[in-house]
């Protein structure tokens, strides 16, 4: 592991010189990690802002939102949102959140920053590819955001971009001419970036581990990033051609996703021979693993922080890693559960339903291991550990609604209702974001050299935890009544009585959003004025806590770290207290290592 293999030879690069090399086109995985984090931060606030506009419009459809015409004159004449502009915002909200927040922050940002350090490497295996990954992602972001500034605005087909709505061009409605093409190009570019990133993560993990860092001695979050990169490598490799084919249908006159005989806006479409189900298959073959690309790194980060806060190892880290692998594998054979009502052979619904239900088993084991590990621990409450505990609560709440949607029979009633929206927001959105928050409070001292304000952090936690439940639990009730999602207004006689509940959700969303401003303020204030961070403020055992905060450009200086233990040596008598660092050569009498 310590030899100069080809991969470890490429990771050496000279100390960066000048502002551009240090902070813009940097090869340093830490700078790239922070760049990903910054991009995700911009994307999450835009995405949240869009959700506010949508929530306000849903409950006061005819009231002007002051200044909205500045965003789009066509989409909001007299500051009142048109139904099509609602769908544009919905599409952009979903796309920004899924790709640029939930994929970028827990996986690309934290993974880039900490995976090399946690395995004792000087940098990623391919630093230039790494730089390219980020700037390609940034380009994808710019192309997507450009859709706001073109005359007909962003696309209206949702983040799932179902064909043929997404494939036939301008006839399909506003935003479907150039906006949808920009969307397709943006996501294709994003796929390239993610493929490069995933390859880099895999090569780094396999080739650059320090002496003594066996695979089983890697922290759980490193494992999660590794497993996630394997998932991402396969998932994005399918979405990329799907987006290319979609763009070809749109601009080159091909018919991959468009069958014959479609009459749209009074035009008989000049296409034939395509299959609309093909898009759905390709999209969801990526789309379902994507859920785990968001949630597994969060689960890994939370496990890492829990172990540290509980001051004891998990009941079994091997089982946790095994469960993550099982979930990663199963995620590839369940995509059809998004398509029960899409006209697939109805027998395939049964075939997709069973593995979906089976995913519950590793997910339950994970939860039980987390819960069982709290028993008899010395739990320290910090902002980071609160978000980690909140993650468990959200993971359970979002997970149990999966029981319903995994069954084709029940999906007949609940499909495309707010029940689905509540389900995936809790388990994929909120839970993953709790993982990001936990990671931020935990690693901020290491990344910036300053401590964050704990009082503001806890205030942020309470507002977000209670607020997220107030927003997303009622979504399930709406779904049970049969409230259809993706409606720009509730004009049906049937849905009008539900508007008070929608108002409650809007109030909760605005309040919870306001609490995020506390987080932003804390982030910016602490970055400059926070107290100086010691090397190891949380008394954590993994390698990133052996080097200065923030780490120097080459992480470990010229020293090659040597690892003697796994990162779970807590709750024992060590020379430094109740824990032993991974790099400490001391013998441990009662090593927790699982046999």
């Amino acid at each position: 592991m310590h030899d100069m293999s080809s991969a470890s030879a490429t990771q050496h690069h000279a100390p960066p010189q000048g502002f551009i090399r240090k902070h813009v086109f940097s090869l340093d995985h830490k700078v790239i990690g922070l760049q990903y984090y910054g991009l995700a931060l911009v994307a999450v606030f835009i995405g949240m802002f869009l959700s506010w506009l949508m929530r306000i419009h849903l409950v006061w459809p005819n009231s002007p939102i002051p200044g909205l015409h500045l965003l789009s004159k066509v989409g909001a004449p007299n500051d009142i949102m048109t139904p099509e502009y609602y769908l544009s915002l919905l599409t952009m909200h979903g796309t920004l959140m899924v790709f640029f927040v939930l994929t970028n922050a827990p996986f690309a940002a934290f993974g880039n920053y900490f995976l090399p350090i946690q395995i004792g490497a000087e940098d990623m295996a391919f630093p230039r590819f790494n730089m390219m990954s980020f700037w390609t992602t940034f380009l994808a972001f710019v192309v997507l955001i450009a859709a706001f500034f073109i005359p007909d605005g962003p696309p209206i087909s949702g983040w799932t971009a179902y064909a043929p709505l997404s494939a036939v061009g301008g006839d399909a409605g506003p935003g479907m001419a150039y906006g949808q093409t920009l969307w397709g190009i943006s996501i294709a570019i994003f796929c390239i970036a993610s493929l490069l990133g995933a390859l880099n993560f895999i090569a780094t993990t396999l080739d650059l581990r320090a002496k003594g860092m066996s695979l089983m001695r890697m922290p759980i979050c490193t494992w999660a990033w590794f497993i996630t990169s394997c998932i991402a490598l396969l998932a994005f490799a399918v979405l990329l051609p799907a987006c290319i084919l979609l763009c070809l249908d749109r601009v080159a006159g091909t018919s991959f996703f468009i069958p014959s005989g479609l009459v749209i806006s009074d035009h008989l479409q000049p296409h034939s021979g395509g299959s609309t189900l093909l898009w759905q298959h390709m999209f969801w073959f990526f789309g379902h693993p994507e859920v785990y690309i968001a949630i597994l790194p969060a689960a890994g980060i939370v496990s890492h922080i829990l172990v540290n806060s509980l001051r004891r190892p998990l009941l079994s880290h091997r089982v946790v890693i095994g469960c993550m692998m099982a979930i990663g594998f199963l995620s590839y054979i369940v995509w059809g559960h998004h398509m029960f009502l899409s006209g697939m052979n109805p027998f395939s619904a049964i075939a997709f339903s069973f593995p979906t239900l089976v995913i519950t088993i590793p997910a339950t084991i994970l939860t039980l291991i987390w819960l069982g590990s709290i028993y008899g621990s010395r739990l320290r409450i910090t902002s980071a550990s609160l978000f980690a505990l909140g993650f468990i609560s959200m993971f359970v709440s979002g997970g149990v609604s999966g029981f319903f949607l995994a069954q084709p029979s029940i999906d007949i009633y609940l499909h495309a209702t707010y029940f689905v929206v509540g389900h995936f927001h809790l388990v994929m959105g909120v839970a993953a974001i709790f993982g990001i928050f936990a990671g931020t409070y935990f690693w901020f001292p290491k990344m910036t050299g300053h401590m964050m304000n704990e009082t503001l952090g806890k205030l942020h936690f309470w507002g977000t935890f209670i607020g997220a439940y107030c927003i997303f639990m009622p979504f399930h009730y709406l779904g049970l009544v049969g409230n259809v999602r993706r409606y720009a207004a509730f004009t049906d006689d049937y849905l009008v009585p539900l508007i008070p509940l929608h108002k409650f959700i809007t109030f909760a969303a605005l309040t919870t959003g306001a609490f995020q401003l506390i987080f932003l303020a804390n982030l910016i204030y602490s970055r400059f004025k926070g107290p100086k961070a010691p090397v190891n403020p949380w008394e954590c055992t993994s390698l990133e806590w052996t080097i200065p905060s923030p780490p120097p450009w080459n992480n470990f200086g010229d020293v090659h770290p040597v690892v003697y233990h796994d990162p779970y040596q807590y709750g024992i008598e060590g020379s430094t207290g109740d824990y032993v660092m991974q790099t400490s050569p001391e013998k441990i009498v009662t090593e927790h290592d699982e046999k």
């Binding site: 139904p83 089982v319 027998f347 291991i369 709290i374 010395r378 739990l379 149990v400 029981f403 995994a406």
Partner: protein
């Protein structure tokens, strides 16, 4: 602060469960012959999911309450049995639950999708297009004439692209904007999309099925209660998606016959 966390988690868990237990928000009354299968499966699943949800949140709250910020931290203890107990519990309890749900849950599905409609079912074609549903009854000859997409002309009310001049079967077809059906009669609904993906959803019937462009599908159902019910689109189809609806009008057989006769005379 661990104690506060525990209290809040308990309050959230109970608060979330109250509207479910009290049936504050619930499905509309089922008017179909087979919808009860879905409802029963939904309530069985609700019990299992609800128990799992409450149990996990309570255990989380209790452990955090008990072990957070202990003044005298004492020795680390391990949960009796450790990981083995957890794995066994998850595999046996959840495995059984999942297996039961999986098997039981196929009943309603197979009733709709593996069982063909009866011989005497009434065939009606429905077509979804941006942003309206239309319905076509075969008329006295019992046959639906072929569709010609190039003949579709909304201005001339030729929504289905029929060509009665050349197609004999099309001449007596009856086209309506409302789905009128007789009560207690099985309906075989053919589904055709004119342009993009749509979906047919009648909550009271417990029926939902996508219209897939290029792929004509079929659902079948029997309504038991006369009345007017909303048919809504649930597949994002463009700017008018939120407003795309039609009505299902369930009538007695004699009312239906009179209604269809009147519609035929309006053609």
């Amino acid at each position: 602060m661990g104690k506060l966390f525990a209290v809040i988690v308990i309050l959230i868990a109970i608060g979330s469960a109250i509207p479910i237990v009290m049936h504050t928000w619930h499905q509309p009354v089922d008017i179909s012959k087979d919808g009860h299968l879905i409802d029963e499966q939904l309530s069985d699943t609700m019990v299992e999911a609800g128990v799992s949800f409450l149990a996990a949140q309570f255990v989380l709250a209790f452990f955090v309450f008990r072990y957070a910020d202990r003044k005298d931290p004492g020795k680390i203890k391990s949960f009796p049995g450790g990981a083995k107990v957890m794995v066994a519990a998850a595999v046996i309890l959840v495995g059984t639950e999942v297996f039961a749900l999986g098997i039981m849950g196929t009943r309603a599905w197979s009733g709709q999708y593996f069982t063909p409609p009866g011989q005497d079912a009434l065939t009606i074609q429905s077509q979804a297009g941006q942003f309206a549903f239309y319905f076509r009854y075969p008329g006295p000859d019992g046959k639906l004439g072929p569709q010609h997409p190039d003949k579709i002309d909304e201005g001339a009310q030729n929504f289905f692209g029929l060509d009665p001049a050349n197609d004999v079967d099309s001449r007596d077809d009856i086209v309506t904007a409302e789905l009128g059906i007789p009560v207690d009669k099985e309906i075989r609904l053919l589904m055709h999309s004119k342009d993009v993906g749509h979906s047919f959803y009648v909550r009271e019937l417990r029926v939902q099925q996508d219209y897939v462009p290029g792929l004509d599908l079929m659902v079948h159902f029997t309504a038991k209660t006369p009345g007017r019910y909303e048919i809504v689109c649930t597949q994002l189809c463009g700017l008018g998606h939120y407003n795309m609806k039609a009505y299902l009008n369930v009538m007695s057989q004699s009312d239906f016959d009179a209604w269809l006769k009147q519609k035929a005379s309006e053609q």
